[in-house]
Amino acid sequence: MTVETSTTNTSGFDRQRLRDLATGSVTSIAVTLIAVIVVGLTWIGPNFLQASNITIIGTFVAVPMLVAAFAGFALLGGVVDLSIGSMVGFSSCLCATLLGWGWPLGAAIPVTLVACVAFGAVNATAVVIFGADTIAATLGMLVALRGVCYLMAQPSGSLAAFDANFYAFTNLTVGPLPLLFVIALVVIIIAAFIVTRTRLGRHVQAAGGDDRAATRAGISVTRVRFGALLLSALGAGIGGVLYVGQLGSASNLTGTGLEFQVYAAMMIGGYSILRGGVGNPIGAALGLLVVAGTSNILDVQAISPYFTNIIVGLLLLAAVLLDRLRGGDAYE
């Protein structure tokens, strides 16, 4: 729908975009976030919004948010990259290994990111060039890269790579907010701008929404999706590198399950892993904050973290149901 409008009438597109925002997924996720904050304030009290607690939530959510900002382009373009969890782990392990060999940060980080993008290119080749099912192919990469993490972190399972400057940088704060969280927010806002305001963003949306219509409109769906999968790998690579800075080490388990955490939050925030063309990075950020806020409340109240998974699962079902009632694809 929006695709048609965007190619024929740009100003109408903007107005429709605004209307979508008012009634759309971003609004409902914002309402959910407010509900989480209200629950937090009534159950925990004013301490919930205390600076130290906000720092904790911000530190926890910064890297997933960065990863989500990049992975969102793949979802929007109609391809899912399930491998991000292990890609983060691989990036951490590789970066830590290189630092352990005495490489300077300026060499270790670019090499790590290039390696991640190379694995992203394998995903993209299988999915875009060969037409492999995107969930199954990237699931294969998820498992393969986790295996690589285990191999790299042999025999102890973890790699120490403490760099005092890097550690200090990743733990800087701006007021109560961790610097990384602020950076993640900025990246989210830039991504949202690209998605809603630029030609490139509209091309990605079009390719994900209806690939045939996009092809007819002269957009190279192949190139968009290939690029989106590379971006998603790059985002996971950056996330992994930042974890090394934050923690001063990497382990073969770094990033395990991150893909579900991120995609569940993104789907709660209005993305779909089955249908491209929908979702907004702001929604993804709010979705992650909802999940982080929920798990923080349970944490403070010393309730088993498994309840977070139950709540996330239920929110996920509610979100896709809401999406369908709003006019999303019905499955029959």
């Binding site: 394998v122 080749t125 299988a126 999915v127 060969f130 037409g131 492999a132 099912d133 969930i135 199954a136 192919a137 699931l139 294969g140 990469m141 998820l142 498992v143 393969a144 890269l145 986790r146 295996g147 690589v148 285990y150 191999l151 042999q154 579900f260 569940a264 789907m267 892993i273 089955l274 088993s304 498994y306 309840f307 977070t308 998974n309 139950i310 996330v312 699962g313 239920l314 996920l316 079902l317 896709v320 149901l321 369908r324 694809d329 019905a330 499955y331 029959e332």
Partner: protein
């Protein structure tokens, strides 16, 4: 009655593509997978002659048993057009845990076995209820129910185990005709399901829905009933796998079910079952799962540490889906 049969026939005829390409592509897939399996066995045997031993056969067939049964359940879901059931890990462990719990309380084995199957079927029907009444995509629904179910299981137990000194556990650890007892039910299930699906009315309904659900609906096939039947039956099959899992394994944690996810999906795709539905032969699962279950043992004999297993399994899945996608692309032209 005759009305219904003609309906079913015309429904399956609605996919001339599927019918025409089924035989050659099925044979091609079978030949490719069989060739890969033979190459793997021969190469491992040349590298290390002691690979060709009864010990290897046992290791491979133990792995095959559970993966093969889960693959049949996954294949039914895929062929019916519901793509993937991502909640299999939870259903498997849920059934195994109920089985272990009942056995500890001295419930007789036949009753326990029925309970295990019913738990799986109930899980599948619960998924189907959400899918059908919410009109939601099975992948997301089963992703969410796997999340929720896994967390609930963790809240209830950290470890479960079937009583060791019982006929039940003995069954899971002993052999019949030189192969594990739990291997035989898997073979029987694959043969039975592979025979019934293309030859019965219900099986053809399922394939028709997977091929083109709207055409099937126009022919009078109820989509809702088909979804409930597919998820109920595939859930029951996962429940049966849970029984064999409990019989053949030591203490198990709720998370262990997820280790089966990748080999099962890879096995189904290698067998040529299209995730988009409507195509595939269940018999080929014996070949694909056999091949995939040989890989870990071969790797050990080639001197790779067990950490390499995941790398190879993942790469095999990527290559398999790439070939599957390439083939589908060529068919479209």
């Amino acid at each position: 009655m005759t009305d219904a049969t003609t309906m079913a026939q015309s429904a399956s005829m609605k996919q001339p593509e599927g019918l025409r390409t089924k035989l050659p592509s099925g044979w091609g897939t079978a030949a490719t997978v069989a060739a890969a399996w033979i190459v793997l066995i021969v190469a491992s045997g040349i590298h290390r002659p002691d690979f060709l031993s009864h010990q290897t056969v046992l290791a491979v067939s133990f792995t095959m048993a559970i993966v093969g049964i889960l693959a049949v359940a996954q294949a039914l879901v895929g062929m019916s057009g519901a793509i993937l059931d991502l909640s299999q890990p939870t259903a498997l462990i849920l059934s195994a845990a109920v089985v272990a719990w009942l056995l500890e309380r001295g419930v007789p084995v036949p009753v326990v076995a029925i309970a295990g199957i019913l738990v799986g079927a109930a899980w599948g029907l619960a998924n189907a209820t959400i899918i059908v009444f919410g009109k939601l995509n099975p992948i997301i629904v089963t992703l969410a129910t796997n999340f929720i179910g896994g967390a609930v299981m963790f809240l209830i137990f950290q470890n479960a185990q079937a009583p060791l000194k019982s006929g039940f556990s003995d069954f899971g650890r002993t052999y019949f005709l030189g192969l594990p007892n739990i291997w035989w039910p898997m073979v029987a299930l694959v043969l039975l399901a592979g025979y019934l699906v293309p030859r019965t009315r219900y099986g053809r309904h399922m394939i028709a829905v997977g091929g083109n659900r709207f055409a099937a609906q126009a022919r009078g096939i109820s989509l809702r009933k088909t979804r409930f039947a597919v998820f109920g039956i595939s859930g029951a099959i996962v429940g049966a796998a849970g029984i064999l899992f409990a019989a053949s394994n030591g203490p198990f944690a709720p998370a262990v079910g997820s280790t089966y996810q990748l080999p099962v999906i890879a096995g189904v795709i290698l067998a040529g079952v299209s995730l988009a539905g409507g195509r595939g032969s269940i018999w080929l699962i014996l070949l694909s799962v056999g091949f995939l279950s040989t890989v870990p043992t071969s790797l050990v004999f080639f001197g790779f540490s067990s950490n390499w297993q995941a790398v190879f399994q993942g790469l095999i899945l990527i290559v398999a889906v790439a070939i599957d996608g390439f083939r589908a692309k060529r068919l479209q032209r």
